[in-house]
């Protein structure tokens, strides 16, 4: 099979799944099965691509012209290089896992036909985005990813909070998209090509682009990334996106949506490398985000919310790695994170589903550790997240920290974030594994949507979790292969180099043990002793409130000003202007008679004239 036909399967199958599921969405079971099957096909296709590629093979591109406009043809197709191969595989595998998981998780939701349709759309958009060979395709599917995530977050559309969250996600990412769009247009204007490979090649050769221009473009692109990958200050949508069904969260936080931003960065890595200023901004934002969101994660009681904040901080990590110049580090972390974060969310979903509450403490008390498989998944995934040695996250995080070794300020931030990550992750683990029934901790959250039936033992629920657990253990060891596929050389930090990071991580775990794990632990966490800080963290640094005050207040102030001006200055002027316009409009409007025959007649007359002219011309 040629790569074109495999590519057709890869991108066609999810789209077909979308349409099939859309058509039969009232037949929930059928829609679900079709989606899973077709998604499986796509996964196979991506796996075939990946396995057929030996390290460092030159990029292959297969595309068909989509639109011809002027001298440029916009192409639709697939680009096969290291980045797309890895990311595509991760996306398809994780989507498949989530879909299988959803078979059980959503089995009693009356709208799950629709749900699977949107999942398929999401997958299609993300895959098309990842494999995109051109700027246009990238942008279109970037937006489509946003749109489908909007559908999925707002899936339970009768729930006002879900709608609000969906809107929030959509609007906040839209803010970033404006930047991205301008950036892409500028890029096209500068480079006169839409082809990503050409662009990257061009950008590597110095002198092709004006450096100020590059910095502007990359900064604008980064604005888009900030929106999509939920970096400060546009990160607040991501925790709220928990309102969607848990499988959606799993997908959103691991391989799709948020990963799109990081992937875009990696996609244009050569370009970014040309812009010093942008890299510094990236590092600043990423580090700040990583620390900031970790603090929030430390106090969040909702299990999903903890993981959501951790996603933000891990995305910060990735961007730190990328911003520091290490494509491999950032990309590797993107891969590992996708796997263990999906695992964590699926586990969290299983708990929530089983016990009908989002609260970690309540879940622990309800005896969550009896669900052995899921608890195991939680521990492994959590370990990987915390950077527990020899698990997946450990390797990638080490690489990122290593890549920052010559930037002490950011290195310190990384250590801090890493410490907090370990702490809050194991906080969750300990709360689940060693619940303390007597502790004074209040269960804060009301029970989530109650689920009367329990499916926790079913195969579709367990299989993805087990698979991902294995992945979370194993993927870390494949750093070399990933590097070779990317066409890079893997870097292995030596043990002394790793020691501080290991220490920080273990320290975090230790403190978590002290706070939550050991017998008669208070299970409140040390932050709560610093009440103001706790409140601050708990409320997400009041960022939402600030945004509201800031933007709404500003808008109101501006409005007031405008109102005054309008009333006293512009009114008269506009009256005169309006009158004038009306007069002009009335005069010209007479031509706009609404008489169809007149229009046609005029057109026909002109056409006839042209033909007569042509005929006379031919006569000569």
């Amino acid at each position: 099979m040629s790569s074109t036909s495999i590519g057709l399967v890869l991108l066609g199958a999810p789209l077909m799944a979308f349409f099939v599921a859309l058509v039969v969405f009232r037949k929930n079971h059928l829609a679900a099965m079709m989606t899973v099957l077709l998604s499986g096909a796509a996964t196979c296709a991506s796996a075939v691509f990946l396995l057929a590629t030996k390290g460092g093979t030159p990029a292959e591109q297969a595309s068909r012209a989509w639109i011809h406009a002027g001298g440029t043809s916009i192409e639709f197709g697939i680009l096969l290089d290291g980045k797309t191969l890895i990311m595509g595989t991760v996306v398809s595998v994780i989507t498949l896992c989530v879909q299988v998981y959803s078979l059980s998780y959503m089995s009693h939701d009356p709208g799950r036909g629709r749900f699977f349709a949107f999942l398929a759309l999401f997958e299609w958009a993300m895959l098309s985005f990842v494999y995109s060979p051109s700027l246009m395709q990238t942008f279109v599917f970037w937006e489509l990813v946003g749109l489908s995530s909007f559908f999925l977050i707002g899936f339970w559309y009768r729930k006002p909070s879900a709608i609000a969250a969906a809107k929030k996600a959509f609007i906040m990412t839209r803010i970033g998209d404006v930047g991205l769009f301008i950036g892409l247009i500028l890029l096209f204007q500068t480079a006169h090509t839409l082809d990503i490979q050409t662009l990257n090649t061009m950008s590597v050769a110095t002198g092709n682009f004006d450096s100020g221009r590059i910095e502007l473009i990359t900064l604008l692109l980064f604005v888009g990334i900030v929106g999509k990958s939920a970096q400060f200050p546009l990160h607040t949508w991501l925790p709220d996106a928990m309102e969607g069904p848990t499988p959606v969260s799993a997908l959103l936080h691991s391989a799709t949506m948020v990963a799109a931003g990081v992937f875009l960065f990696a996609r244009f890595h050569p370009l970014f490398m040309q812009a010093e200023l942008t890299l510094t901004v990236v590092l600043c934002v990423a580090t700040f985000t990583a620390v900031l969101s970790s603090t929030m994660a430390m106090v969040a009681s909702d299990m999903k919310r903890v993981f959501a904040y951790s996603s933000i901080s891990q995305l910060g990590f990735m961007l730190m790695g990328l911003g520091a110049g290490s494509l491999f580090a950032g990309y590797f972390h993107l891969t590992t994170h996708a796997i263990f974060k999906a695992l964590l969310f699926l586990c969290a979903g299983a708990f929530i589903h089983e016990y009908g509450t989002n609260d970690t403490v309540a879940i622990g008390r309800a005896g969550a550790r009896k669900l052995r498989v899921i608890t195991l998944g939680l521990i492994i995934g959590g370990g990987a997240l915390a950077g527990f040695p020899l698990l997946a996250g450990f390797f990638s995080k080490e690489l990122i920290i290593h890549s920052l070794h010559d930037k002490p300020l950011f290195l310190a931030g990384a250590y801090l974030a890493s410490f907090m990550t370990a702490y809050y992750t194991f906080r969750v683990i300990f709360l689940v594994v060693f619940p303390n029934q007597d502790s004074a901790v209040q269960v804060e959250e009301p029970p989530a949507d109650s689920h009367d039936d329990h499916h926790s033992s079913s195969l579709p629920l367990h299989a993805p979790i087990l698979l991902l657990t294995v992945g979370a253990i194993a993927v870390g060891w494949f750093g070399d292969s990933i590097a070779s596929v990317l066409g890079l050389v893997a870097y292995h930090p030596s043990l002394p180099e790793m020691a501080p990071a290991i220490g920080v991580a273990l320290g975090g775990i230790l403190i978590a043990w002290f706070d939550f794990g050991r017998k008669s632990a208070p299970q409140t966490g040390f932050i709560s002793k610093l009440a103001p800080l706790h409140t601050l963290f708990k409320n997400g640094w009041y960022l939402d409130v600030i945004y509201k005050k800031l933007f709404v207040g500003a808008a109101q102030a501006v409005a007031g000003l405008l109102f005054g001006t309008e009333n006293h200055v512009l009114d008269k002027a506009s009256d005169m202007l309006g009158q004038g316009t009306l007069t002009i409009g009335e005069t010209t409007g007479k031509a706009q008679s609404g008489r169809l025959p007149l229009y046609i007649g005029l057109a026909a007359l002109c056409f006839s004239g042209a033909i007569i002219a042509l005929g006379l011309e031919m006569m000569r």
Partner: protein, 109 residues
């Protein structure tokens, strides 16, 4: 029978159709004109294919497709005409001027 003859016939039918489209006030009359124009085009397709053929069956298929589209078009157009009639109690194209410029005095009333 020559190519020119067939083309001329097509042209005549097209002109007649054009006349109907322009002169008729009844929407169905206009539709009749459009059908005539479509068929004029069909004649041209077949005539060209008959006299200076490049690909044997392609004109027939084009005409078949055009006929099919004409059927679809007629169905929809007549449905719209009927709908218009029900809402406005007229099929006079001159009465269909919702989008016309109404002028200031009209909007003030």
């Amino acid at each position: 029978m020559t190519l020119e003859g067939a083309l001329l016939l097509g042209l005549m039918l097209f002109s007649l159709g054009l006349y109907a489209v322009l002169a008729r006030r009844n929407l169905i009359g206009i539709l009749i004109g459009i059908e005539l124009m479509l068929n004029a085009a069909n004649i041209n397709f077949l005539a060209f294919n008959y006299f200076i053929p490049t690909d044997p069956a392609v004109a027939q298929i084009i005409v078949l497709v055009v006929i099919g589209l004409a059927a679809a078009e007629a169905a929809i157009a007549l449905a719209i005409i009927l709908k218009l009639y029900r809402q406005r109690n007229s099929v006079d194209v001159d009465a269909m001027q919702l989008l016309r410029s109404t002028g200031a005095e009209a909007s003030n009333e």
